[in-house]
Symmetry: C2
Subunit: 362 residues, 2 copies
């Protein structure tokens, strides 16, 4: 088992990465001085697979747990579902000392984290991410939130979990497409922070796509360590943390414009990274050879690197980008790479150039 | 004009108390390094009275403001209205640097504060409380929230405003009953923290009920100073801050059980304080003479000190109390006074004694 610490003063916590961790959740929670009662929030995909195991581990350790299962899918990150979870918490008389266990992918982590942040003005929660994407990205760092009709993650809170359990065994049940989606964020960490890791990924990619658990353990731990390092320096995204958004300005807009149906998050981010790499060549001094390595590695991960949209959709995409949180006073800002392993944030890019690059990708 | 500072490190802020402050809101906001755009959230009672003035002050100072008016009343503290405000913020393209102005009573402050805490994971907000209750209590200290069907304030966040404007002139438009409701919390500050202030209130009460602005200015400032002192020591209610809940365990339950219709908040808290005073005599060494002074002062403020409920309703009240946030592991905890000006929190009271005292008040 590997451990990574997120250093945030009184809100610091450990991320554990290993196989068969679900059985140890109860035991580990015992060490966190949490209350006796908890609610496991999970979804209709993950609940049937792991809900019983997690519940058993909690009760073996003396916790009294209740499971709430919500519908799987991005549409679950809504006011409606958050309010349902709040009502369930109240109905089960959960108290300030009670805690929440988020068991599932990024949607569940974001939703359950937001519910924890806002129930009784904040109760403790632990993350049990069961997708690669959630393990390397959304479960770490305390971003929680839900979507509005007008945009993804427009409502939320910065609220740190008390512990993160990355059980690699849960990835066995992950569909191939979901696994590849997670690899998109993995590649991102190499691009934004660590060229050595990027080169290592070039070697490991076949093993990762082949689900070799040793390789997966290594890269999940490295991604968590990078994210912990960034978040430890800038918890609430006043500066540095923005680098984690590489590929996300276009990626988020792409998801919105296709109604979260055509692309998985990582797939949209893959295309977004290719676009950001090309903009980086135009604006930030990235060499075209480096941009090509990025594109190649994403392709090796089985991720889309082209836009398959009609002209009308590309125009909607450009419009959607102007609603992104990274907009300030009407100017679209990007995270761009100056070289492999190093990026700058807040780069203002003329919309014309964005349009040009997007049409290159069609 | 009086000023009180809430000391919370990087999240410190000023409370200004004075007449005709609305005109200076824009000028004052200029000093807070806020963004250029803002949304004024107000309700159907207050908006028509002061919305234009606040808007004009903001635009004279170079801010671009939009006003959103929600229905007046406790039922507005809901997911539904919070989601409406979020949608409006998104529709008007409010950004991370934008801010919210909460213009109204406690409902608006709690709602708009919660919306500010959660939109884009937190945007700045200022409080412009227009009721006595909001000026002396809810606008200060960063408690924000909404209600669930199963209970008041069950969802929320600790989120501090950047500034509080207590304009005493806005109290002119406050109905008498609302003014008296505010006086309930005023009396509370004397009971929990300051016997000299309590004795001063005994003298000033006729002037306060008569709306003399010098007297009002004095007591609003003192209440804010006490609250600032308490919140500065315990922002998130891990201990001391609980003393502010004197009278609230029963008061909240009383509001819930009468569906927020029969009693105004301060009226329910008045009855709750009388009950808490009697429990204090039984459990905490308060003399019956002191308990009587408390009751007398609340009566002088024109507040109810008896329960006018049927037996069935009293039983529902007792049941409702077990859902209160101050419950832990099934035991009901009270804030009780050991003497005038000094209280203890976390006092466990047997439910039988609560029942006995409640029936005394019928």
């Amino acid at each position: 088992m590997r451990e990574v610490k997120v250093e945030l003063g009184g809100r610091s916590y450990q991320i554990q990465i290993g196989s068969e961790l679900l059985d140890s959740i109860g035991r580990q929670c015992k060490k966190l001085s949490l209350g006796r009662r908890c609610m496991v929030i999970t979804d209709s995909n993950v609940g049937p697979l792991y809900g019983e195991k997690v519940g058993a581990s909690l009760s073996a350790a003396g916790f009294e747990s209740v499971q709430v299962t919500v519908r799987a899918g991005e549409q679950t990150k809504s006011w409606r579902t958050a309010a349902y979870c709040h009502d369930q918490l109240a109905a089960h008389r959960m108290e300030r000392g009670s805690f929440i266990v988020a068991l599932g992918g990024g949607v569940i982590g974001d939703l359950a984290g937001f519910v924890a942040a806002t129930y009784l003005r904040g109760v403790a929660f632990v993350q049990v991410p069961t997708t690669l994407l959630a393990q390397v990205d959304s479960s770490v760092g305390g971003k929680t939130g839900i979507n509005l009709t007008s945009g993804k993650n427009l409502v939320g809170a910065f609220y740190q979990p008390r512990h993160v359990f990355c059980d690699l065994s849960t990835l066995d049940s992950l569909p191939d497409r979901e696994l590849r989606s997670g690899l998109s964020e993995v590649v991102k960490y190499g691009i934004i922070y660590d060229d050595v890791f990027f080169r290592r990924l070039e070697k490991l990619m076949p093993a990762l796509v082949g689900r070799q658990s040793k390789a997966l353990g290594e890269i999940v731990a490295r991604c968590c360590a990078i994210k912990a390092d960034v978040v430890g320096q800038d918890e609430t995204e006043t500066g540095l943390r923005a680098i984690l958004n590489f590929g996300h300005t276009i990626g988020h807009a792409l998801e919105a414009v296709t109604h979260y149906k055509k692309y998985l998050h990582g797939e949209a981010i893959s295309i977004g990274q290719v676009a950001a790499a090309r903009l980086s060549c135009l604006q930030a001094g990235l060499t075209s050879a480096e941009a090509r390595s990025m594109e190649t590695l994403l392709e090796k991960a089985g991720l889309p690197v082209h836009l398959t949209l009609k002209k009308q959709q590309v125009e909607s995409l450009i419009q959607a980008m102007s609603l992104d949180k990274k907009v300030s006073d009407g100017v679209v800002k990007f995270v761009l790479a100056s070289r492999l392993g190093q990026v700058q944030w807040g780069c203002k890019v003329p919309m014309e150039q964005v349009r040009e690059v997007l049409y290159q990708l069609v």
